[in-house]
Symmetry: C2
Subunit: 422 residues, 2 copies
């Protein structure tokens, strides 16, 4: 029976039972962590061979990868990203280890110099605003906010951002210069942007001539089932719609090989790539090509990346299944929470009883379970319904995922009972 349907006495009894469970939980002195989307050591072990690569120091075109140069990255590394993203290699740059840094650089360039199609640099505008499909990635929001960009939340559905809302906003407001988007297995909801949504985003009229989608395809190949969804080719869709420079695509091997020592990529139209490289040339003499050759030798090609991702899936799919099992067994019957069952990516999105998310995180913390701060998936950390919690089950061992999720369930139930007056 739903918790809200319980008679007062039953609710009180239920609350008391949860308090007892919570006291027991605290007594265990747990120290568990579901905060961040980090790969587990076992996942990192899958790439241990990288540590003794590359076997040589010469790229396919004869480049000595140890020396300066090659601003756009090794051709064979660009080709692997191109094949994975479905974008021609000429439109792909292989860079350093962090795609987040590429996003920062893209925004800084836009603020200082504008983007292809800009009338003037974004930084001279009084107000620059970005649409933020919400819940979304806290680092995206914080990065834009840090750069003085105002954050405008828009809803996200299972097939991507709500294009009706988005289209209406961008059509009428020239201060809306762009939007964030994680098209594949979105952080944190697991949404996958459909071809239809992508086409609408690529073609919708925008008041700002330089409206830019930062298409962070961080989880392009991070499938949790054997069904490998294919992200829409947004670069081609934008070009076909007559808006070739509307999108900048990002990706990386951070959650494919080593989280801190992978290779990141940027892609887009010819003008987007040229503008990026022009700016980059002032502050870089080329990326770490040794690390790129290391990855090229390790993978061979894009098929090698896909085969490698299947090994990741074997390690993490059971953890996601365990999250589903505990949530279903402990919470489903009480009607006080909803959650996603993603088929890829790194997160489960948990919506608890309105008004209780912060309390759940607080209860969990006191019991030794670290959760991402409530509201962090929202612009400025403000969850208007105070209900959203992001769960990241990849890092802990399976047994700890079980223990942590049992603890989370207890906290969710206790907070709900409290909220309902039990």
């Amino acid at each position: 029976m739903a918790l809200s349907d319980l008679a007062p006495a039953d609710l009180t009894a239920f609350a008391d039972a949860q308090r007892a469970a919570y006291a027991e939980l605290k007594a265990q002195g747990l120290k568990l962590d579901l905060t961040r989307g980090k790969p587990s050591p076992e996942q990192l072990d899958l790439s241990e061979a990288l540590l003794t690569l590359p076997t040589g120091h010469v790229a396919a075109d004869g480049t000595d990868v140890r020396n300066y140069g090659g601003l756009a990255g090794l051709p064979e590394m660009r080709q692997i990203f191109a094949d994975l993203l479905g974008i021609p290699a000429a439109n792909v740059v292989a860079a350093g280890s962090s795609s987040l840094t590429l996003m920062h650089d893209t925004l800084v360039q836009a603020l200082l110099y504008g983007r292809p199609g800009s009338v003037e640099p974004w930084g001279v505008e009084d107000v620059v605003r970005f649409l933020c499909p919400t819940p979304g990635y806290d680092r995206h929001f914080a990065l834009a906010d840090r750069l003085g960009i105002e954050l405008v939340p828009v809803p996200i559905d299972a097939d991507g951002p709500d294009v009706e809302v988005v289209a209406e906003l961008v059509a009428g407001d020239p201060t809306i210069k762009g939007m964030w988007l994680v098209p594949t297995y979105s952080n944190p909801t697991g949404a996958v942007c459909s071809e239809e949504v992508a086409r609408a985003l690529a073609s919708m009229p925008t008041a700002a001539p330089d409206f830019t989608i930062l298409w962070d395809n961080a989880y392009a190949v991070h499938h949790l089932t054997e069904t490998e969804v294919r992200t829409p080719d947004i670069v081609t869709l934008c070009a076909e719609a007559g808006n070739p420079d509307r999108v900048v695509v990002f990706a990386s091997t951070s959650k494919i090989t080593f989280a801190g020592a992978g290779v990141a990529a940027l892609a887009g139209s010819e003008a987007t790539v040229a503008a990026y490289l022009k700016g980059l040339g002032f502050y870089s003499i080329g990326p770490d090509k040794v690390n790129q050759l290391r990855h090229v030798e390790f993978f061979g090609d894009a098929a090698g990346v896909r085969a490698h991702m299947a090994k990741h899936r074997e390690l993490i799919a059971p953890k996601f299944a365990e999250v589903q099992r505990v949530l279903a067994e402990r919470l489903a019957e009480h009607g006080i929470a909803e959650w996603t069952d993603p088929v890829g990516g790194y997160f489960v999105n948990l919506d608890v009883l309105d008004g209780t998310a912060r309390r759940v995180v607080e209860l969990a913390k006191e019991a030794g379970i670290a959760l991402t701060p409530a509201g962090s998936a929202f612009p400025y950390g403000e969850d208007p319904r105070n209900r959203n919690i992001r769960l990241a089950p990849t890092l802990p061992p399976l047994a700890e995922v079980t223990a942590a999720m049992e603890a989370v369930a207890t906290c969710v139930l206790l907070a709900a009972a409290e909220e309902l007056g039990g």
Copy 2:
């Protein structure tokens, strides 16, 4: 006899001889390159062992270097830079592969948010100007120019920038927000900033409260003789002078291990490091710690770096000696050129007859010898006397250095003879 003292007929004969020599040179169809300060393949070979390192993936403090995190870099890597630079490890950040990128990031942060001690972000000022010891590093100048910073040339002597000129400018002009400086074996003159000059720079009154020296110690350990000069500890000098936040120090292993795949460092006061890391935290989840551990294992400690640099010296000192030999034998007697004889770094600064530098580079190019564009060591590429040429002899094999320098000498003599009317 000096060329300018020759009788007209003798000058004509001399010019004819040079034209003949130049025609012979062109007929050789050479293809040589003295443009950039790149290490040779033999120098890169010294670090080949890096390709199979690290042997493990755990840092001294237990950190799994493969995963995210550790924004300030591995403690043991910071310690090596600290020992090399004479700066406490707590004041040193170990970063990605490019110090040029760190300089860019530092300037972007200053423009957007100001530096410690700033009243407001540099970017809101109408004019921001930087002093540029000249001749200097073209990439420094281009980077600042790209960011809208005006370049103000100041003279550089053998012991560093002309502090009298610098002190007068900074005392009276609050738009002068900073200066570039390569303190050790300056690019391209080989100047070494003395303790006295460093102390004056650290203590001079400045109209701008946030005046900032970008202290690019790119060649801190790049000695060409057994005398290893010790760069002044500018961080301590600034602190002692009551201007702790005046300097940001940069260094890297780019010309120690692999030019494109080394480790860069940033250092400064506690406030400087804290401000940098605060900004960095918005766009990075930590540097490539695998590459840092790779370097730590390879070097062991700072003494290991110094021992490694002695091997570089063995490879490149003969090339620098050859440059000196050819210049002395071919040019000295004619009184139309001066050049430096550096005891470290990567360059020889050649001043040819006033008004002939561009012609020399043009002649060399037509004969198949690539030289850095004339004037590139000056702000905006403008050498008022059109006499300065930067020579970079590290990359080519010794025999090619000889051939290239013989060719350069011929071009210098021909251009001088032309200029004098021969």
